[in-house]
Subunit: 229 residues, 2 copies
Amino acid sequence: MSARERRQVASDAGLSKKRVVVEAVRLADREGVGELSMRQLARALGAGAMSLYYYVASKEDLLDAMIDFVFEEIELPPEETDWQSAMRRRAVSARQVLARHPWAIGLMESRTSPGPANLRHREAVTACLRRAGFTVMMATHANWLLDSYVYGFALQESSLPFDTADEFADIAEGVFLPQLPPDEFPYLNESAAVLAAAGYDPAEEFTFGLDLVLAALEPLRAPHVSLHP
Amino acid sequence: MSARERRQVASDAGLSKKRVVVEAVRLADREGVGELSMRQLARALGAGAMSLYYYVASKEDLLDAMIDFVFEEIELPPEETDWQSAMRRRAVSARQVLARHPWAIGLMESRTSPGPANLRHREAVTACLRRAGFTVMMATHANWLLDSYVYGFALQESSLPFDTADEFADIAEGVFLPQLPPDEFPYLNESAAVLAAAGYDPAEEFTFGLDLVLAALEPLRAPHVSLHP
DNA sequence: CCGTACTTCGTACGCTGTACCAATAGTAGT
DNA sequence: ACTACTATTGGTACAGCGTACGAAGTACGG
């Protein structure tokens, strides 16, 4: 066992790629990814800035590893249930994870090659859809549609200034309505007023669209040939 | 007419916020938003770096303006057609625009307050949906769902290494398949093989999911009370 | 012609990522 | 115990970043 391998296992002292990535994610969550610099990260780890480069090829490499670390947190679709429940679980998990690490969404745009956790996730999702009776083509469609919805929702949610229904009501009345001239934006005013009064929760919004999409995908499944072996 | 106002109108010489933003967008399109610096931008405009700060409060302010400039390029939903056609047109337009300016997607995460073009767009979309018979709540749901799909699709598309079906076939066979061990990723291998053989075009993928979502939203419209005045 | 406001930008400061290389620490072989 | 070696750490330096500050240049109303 080399010194390097020991360090990879040790958790309380010594650096390792894992420890570097974990601390980087923590920093990005707390301060935003824009505030994440190699020097700050090194300081948080009690190390010199250049020490990080023993575990990470470059900052780009670190960002890639951070993204894949985030993907590892997303639940894989469970295998024992029907496809809709499985897809719902993993979509809900993905939204939660991306809400915890909003910087990850913005980072996805600039990086091209998916990491290992990303690939494992895609494989598991595709497997679930194929076993549920979708053809290769339809499984691809479903995959794109579901991922687009999840990522896009997380992206929109990350730029909202509120998290809960209560916060929304406050902000809608205190910020939105005064900023929107009623003659120029009559419909947005109507929406803000109605939603503030009725209560509006982003989490419910997510499941609404998700269920609608899942229901719309159901008829695209091919007949279950697996039942006639 | 002040000197400032003249400059805002002039297009061939002299700076203006518009000229600064337009050149910044051009630079970001060409080199990526990571390569966009105030000094480079100033050089492209034949000006000194600090001159830009007369038209722009900070780089953050510039990025906000760039995003809103991108939103201005997206077609508003036309008023003379049915709601599905209107929504389809503006969604297709949004995808095209975001594909032209992929950096805009990654930027949306970090900024909170929508610009004027963004607000005008939201107002027009909400108006279209309300006139089509959706309640405030259902129009909100439809808005979230459609925007999530468009943004999420653009986000995924921006991280694809290919743009057309032909490029995909090349890359699938040359990059994906060799990188994916068939025993670990059987379903992804199957997908890559089938899609490479059958042909796969991201633009068709987009309209497939879009039409599915639009069809799923149709039954959520309330009965047309406007027909019984 | 002058005062005043508008527009430009040179300099400087503290930050960034990281190339390069020296220093140290821990292990294996003798 | 001594050497040879590799694994690990980080100090210094450099080019480039955003931008605060303040000084120029320019145009116009009086």
